[in-house]
């Protein structure tokens, strides 16, 4: 199934790029663009489901498999915010980010055809991982928006702040849900809901930095300080997701697969 990924992903990228372009070019109606982007999303989801059937367990285990979901969710989030709040540029950026992750998957798949070990055979497996990746997608979009807001700091415009806050609140909602589902699962599987496993440590740091952002916003700290918290948090998120396996402190983690 993975051998077909290049064709599926090329078709999806094509649909998404033409879709975004038509949102920009066709000022009168967004229908064509919306249909094209939705078709791309449907095709991508179809690939994930076919892969799921092919390998016989949810494709959520290897790094490459989680990147696959990320490519899907980031575009979904970008498209959702476009439908909800009319930010055209965000769809474009999320398609770009999705493309980067697709490219990584094509160049360095990190897919090993291994069996699903007993520890991962649990009803908590799918919600724990998908909710997490959904939150990563929200935060990815928030980070993109924060960079643009940082560039606009001089103009005193705060037009992006409602979007950034919304994405961060929703992202944190998913992140906390993912972490708590993981805690409940851990109690069933390992005997304790929190053991400061390296992945847990970094997930905690990531959540803490986003919580700091939200509290700093409530406290009305100056934007030139607050806006830098989001890129910082996103770096922590990337370490949690992709970097932990390479850290010397993480050898022996229960999360290394």
């Amino acid at each position: 199934m993975w051998d077909n990924f290049i064709w599926f992903s090329l078709a999806c990228m094509l649909l998404w790029i033409i879709g975004v372009a038509s949102l920009y070019l066709n000022k009168k109606t967004a229908i064509t663009g919306n249909i094209l982007i939705s078709a791309g999303l449907a095709l991508f989801l179809a690939f994930i489901l076919l892969l799921w059937r092919d390998i016989g367990h949810p494709p959520l285990r290897t790094m490459g498999e989680t990147r696959l979901w990320y490519s899907f969710f980031i575009t979904l989030v970008g498209f959702g915010t476009w439908l909800r709040w009319r930010y055209k540029w965000l769809v474009g950026y999320s398609v770009l980010v999705s493309g980067v992750f697709i490219a990584v998957n094509l160049l360095k798949p990190e897919i090993h055809f291994t069996n699903l070990m007993p520890a991962l055979q649990s009803i908590w497996f799918v919600p724990h991982v998908t909710v997490y990746i959904l939150s990563y997608a929200m935060f990815g979009a928030a980070t993109i928006a924060s960079f643009i807001a940082i560039r606009e700091l001089k103009s005193k415009s705060e037009r992006l702040m409602p979007l950034i806050d919304n994405l961060t609140y929703i992202g944190l909602g998913f992140l906390m849900t993912g972490m708590l589902l993981g805690a409940i699962w851990a109690k069933e599987a390992w005997g304790d809901y929190w053991t400061w496993d390296p992945k847990e440590v970094w997930a905690f740091i990531t959540a803490a930095v986003y919580v700091i952002y939200i509290h700093a916003r409530v406290q009305k700290y100056p934007l030139r300080v607050i806006l830098w918290i989001l890129p910082l948090a996103f770096v922590m998120l990337m370490i949690t997701w992709l970097g932990v396996n390479y850290l010397p402190a993480a050898q022996g983690s229960i999360h290394v697969y």
Partner: protein
């Protein structure tokens, strides 16, 4: 709202206080060599948990200062920095250090104070999200922190057909003395399902499988068929008797020359040597050991108070009896499915119910974040 200069002054004072707490923690760390959480065992933890809100209510003057939002940010940042240390330095024991314990305590006080302040002006629609998230976290932090002093974890190894009630403390590095637990386990049977072993063509000296960049392994099922580079492999027979290693009779044909080689291939086990099928001076067909799909123990568990429970314990499906949870931990991995013993982990955590209540409140709190969004 306080003036800008005043606010900065307040933040500076709070930062200095938190820094002083951390330094005091470091000093205690150097003197005592770590925080012993056993001093928080029941009833000390319950007294602490009651004392914090009671003292805050009694000393109203301090309440407002301790509930400060900027103090929360400083404390969360400090915890995050300690967590960074945990995440970067291999083999550290920051989680049981004095600085971490003191900052954790400060966070508990700050969180309790914030909740108490907000309760005084509580309006359901406006504050429910705040309450779910903050009270949920508070209950969870009380259970996971001071509450964890009452937690107990043991490993118990039980042989098939035997009863065991002695166990070793788990978590500790050195082998501990066996202790008698108020719980006994009788192991009726240990069983394991496995994924079929896999076959591959490997380079004899390095063990690297072909094709070199994208190694191909296929399951050794009867009549399985695969093409690897210029050879076709067919599995003509599979034998896997109890107590013996799996073996497959493999026929390998060169696509171009039609030359065929055949023979038995086995991954071996704890008493049988592995066997490969030689193809030429460089390559051979080899089998990987079968990976466990599921392992389970059929047990009967008894408590001192006379409770008896029958059931199957497997990974992700612990057994609960008399406040204890019994987990399938491992087995004799050298023997795999022929293991004659099963290792259980027994966990006693009287604070698990409040911990769950806190977590469920926080999940509902997270859901409120979705519809609330950034609007305050």
């Amino acid at each position: 709202m306080v003036g800008k200069g005043k606010r900065e002054q307040k933040i500076a004072i709070e930062a200095v206080i938190v820094a002083a707490i951390t330094v005091a923690g470091l000093a205690l760390q150097v003197i005592t060599g770590g925080f012993n959480r056993e001093i928080l065992a029941f009833p000390a933890n319950l007294i602490l948990i009651t004392a914090i809100p009671v003292l805050l209510i009694l000393f109203k003057g301090a309440l407002k200062h301790l509930a400060s939002g900027s103090l929360s940010i400083i404390l969360i940042s400090t915890v995050a920095i300690i967590a960074l240390y945990m995440g970067l330095v291999p083999g550290n024991s920051a989680k049981s250090s004095w600085p971490f314990t003191l900052i954790y305590l400060a966070l508990l006080i700050n969180l309790t104070a914030s909740v108490l302040m907000r309760l005084r002006i509580f309006k359901f629609r406006k504050d429910i999200s705040f309450m779910l998230n903050h009270i949920g976290l508070l209950i969870l932090l009380f259970s996971a922190g001071p509450g964890s002093a009452d937690k107990a974890r043991y490993f118990m190894r039980v042989f098939e057909g035997k009863v065991e009630w002695r166990a070793e403390k788990s978590g500790g590095k050195e082998r501990a003395e066996a202790v008698e637990l108020p719980i006994a386990i009788s192991l009726e049977d240990f069983e394991m399902d496995e994924y079929p072993p896999k076959l591959a063509i490997i380079e004899r000296n390095t063990g690297i499988a072909l094709p070199e960049k994208r190694p191909f392994y296929f399951e050794a099922n009867l009549n399985a068929f695969a093409t690897i580079e210029n050879r076709t492999l067919t599995v003509d027979s599979v034998v896997y008797k109890p107590g013996y290693a799996p073996a497959a009779f493999v026929r390998v044909t060169d696509i171009y020359s039609d030359e065929a080689t055949e023979g038995w291939v086995s991954c071996g086990n704890y008493f049988q040597h592995f066997k490969t099928l030689s193809l030429d001076s460089t390559y051979c067909v080899a089998m990987t050991s079968p990976e466990p799909k599921e392992f389970r123990s059929k047990v009967e568990a008894y408590t001192q108070s006379g409770k008896v429970k029958n059931g199957i314990i497997r990974v992700n499906h612990p057994m609960t009896i008399g406040g204890w949870k019994i987990y399938q931990h491992s087995y004799d991995s050298a023997r795999g499915r022929d293991s004659v013993w099963s290792l259980f982990e027994l966990v006693y955590d009287p604070w698990i119910i409040p911990a769950y209540i806190g977590m469920i409140m926080m999940i509902f709190g997270a859901i409120t974040l979705f519809w609330k969004g950034g609007k305050s």
